[in-house]
Symmetry: C2
Subunit: 344 residues, 2 copies
DNA sequence: CTGAAAGCGCTTACAG
DNA sequence: CTGAAAGCGCTTACAG
């Protein structure tokens, strides 16, 4: 690697290192002549300032750490994209880490991000806050939670009011005369898992639907558990006539398993997914979803974090969720469909 | 932000900064006593070494830049994931940049990555190599291309032999008595766009199928152009009976438009997509695809880059592609289906 | 407006 | 095995 430093630039421009530095950082205390000569030297030498050295002095890296739970989950891929775009607009670069829904990988990345001296961190957290998240708090590193929160840790956050969408979904299904709504829940160690499950439980009770506990299958927010969930629910003596999946990967797993079992979505069983993934609308029948704006979530997260970095103490943001009804749940529950479901 | 430095650790441990540093970096020239006391101090003070300062001295950041073309394209999300996992296994962290299929954003990120002094860069390139990619070469920064290459720039690369899969797809469709195969091409400014188009052209000729140039629609690898492509192809006086899309986002757009036009995939028209995205198998009918292993691509990319970083000059890797036939293309072309396609 | 110099937090020969 | 010191590439008061 050939290395061009500010010293080379200064020499080529015939000015001191200090002057070169001032020109580079846009300090007004520079003459037009110096500005010109330094600019020319930068151009000619193809100089790229060393960000490490720069931030070592100025304590700002213009770098934001983003820790998502699972990059391959389209929701988080979209979130990464929107956070990145918002950050870019403010002159920040994103360092992306992927926890893979595992606390140990989260801790590893968090420690790396601390060592990289990012100016702040946006995290969709795993676990109970006993690990590296403690270090973030101890060091008072500007941090905000996105999508999820950790109980007992008081940081600004951008989350979705998922309860509203879940309630709408249950009411919608009740309106189609479904009385046994299966629920593929997220892990109860994660705030969104808990919140959505609580909303389901309450909505089912409020609508006088079956509260049979075997209608709930606890998954882990990943695709495979959506498949197992469908399998378990459809083996019940009284299987549900509708299923609600608490996130999109589990919905994908559910769809795959229903196909494998030859159960027709929208006819034999109704299906609703949390998270609005582009191609859910392209399935045949199209999938009803509980939608929330990942665009707004990313933008709000960056804005909140920048406020914290600037020493502010912003209020948390809660974004709405909304049911979008499509064909997968718009056929009323046909009488007798329950017993006609084949079990293999 | 509270800051703990190696000086604090040294003081707390009662050793010099040099000794503390040696313990931290695993230098064997340390006594068991020092190791213990330093470790205890690190623990007690929750010390995280400043990666900036460290790399300023040692010229290694243990950081790899990854520039993908479009994070929201599941192919690149999967690639990011596999590169990340492979890098993690070698003690490297990934700095992810997203070009959004735009050369100016690519240049911006590339300059940032250079300034961050990443140890190497893995890039799925945009453009003709006139921009920031030049700086990479000038500075001899270890760089490899992944998925795509740039003509005239001789860097190690990991690519897919997409020709093989395309040929298989065309032969497969020819075997179903399709004679007019529409092709939604990628941009001819991108190597994969060119390679796949060339393979289509040759396969069509070799199989004595229609070489009508209006059967080719030039898209931009993004979803919207897949929709326009379907629209344009189906408006032809003699529309194709099968369509091949050169990447997955365009295939998504194609599926969406076919739904909108009420053209039944697998019955009215056959459809095959390049890239094997998990949920393509979940569509109804399931989508035939040309599959290539993003897992292997990511791993090979990291391995190649590490060799370059270590001063080696590795051979480029070309991975295979393979047709996977599913329901979207397995009904033979029904006689007369051409004219029965409605045009709106 | 400019130059000389200190210092950010580390690592690493150099002596001992 | 250890300490003192130089230096990585910048920025930023401090004089002038």
């Amino acid at each position: 690697m050939t290395t061009v430093t500010i010293k080379d630039v200064a020499a080529a421009a015939g000015v001191s290192v200090g002057t070169a530095s001032r020109v580079l950082s846009g300090n007004p205390a520079t003459s037009a002549a110096s500005r010109e000569r330094v600019a020319a030297a930068v151009e000619r030498l193809d100089f790229h300032p060393n960000a490490q050295a720069r931030s070592l002095r100025s304590a700002r890296t213009h770098t934001i750490g983003l820790l998502v739970s699972d990059v391959r989950n389209p929701f988080f891929a979209d979130l990464a994209h929107s956070v990145e775009q918002a950050a870019l607009a403010h002159g920040y670069v994103i360092l992306l880490g992927n926890a893979n829904e595992r606390e140990d990988q989260q801790d590893r990345y968090l420690n790396t991000l601390i060592s990289q001296r990012v100016d702040g961190i946006i995290v969709a957290p795993q676990g109970d806050g006993s690990g590296a998240i403690r270090s973030l708090l101890n060091r008072r590193i500007p941090t905000i939670f996105v999508d999820r929160t950790v109980e007992g840790i008081n940081l600004p956050s951008v989350t979705t009011d998922s309860g509203h969408g879940i309630r709408q979904a249950v009411e919608h299904l009740a309106g189609q005369s479904h009385t046994r709504i299966g629920y593929i829940a997220g892990p109860q160690t994660i705030s969104t898992g808990r919140e959505r499950f609580t909303a389901y439980t309450k909505a089912v009770a409020d609508n006088f639907l079956s509260q049979d506990p075997s209608l709930v299958y606890f998954g882990d927010f990943q695709a495979a558990s959506g498949s197992s969930g469908v399998d378990a629910l459809l083996r019940l003596d009284q299987p549900p006539t509708a299923i609600l999946a608490a996130d999109s990967p589990m919905a994908v797993g559910a769809v795959a398993m229903l196909h494998r079992m030859d159960v027709r979505i929208g006819a034999d069983i109704a299906l609703v997914a949390f998270d609005d993934i582009e191609w859910f609308a392209l399935l045949n029948p199209a999938l009803s979803v509980i939608s929330h704006s990942v665009e707004n979530m990313g933008r709000a997260a960056v804005e909140l974090l920048l406020q914290v970095i600037d020493g502010g103490t912003p209020e948390s943001v809660v974004l709405p969720s909304e049911l979008i009804v499509r064909a997968s749940s718009s056929t009323p529950n046909p009488a007798g469909s329950v017993s006609s479901l084949r079990k293999n």
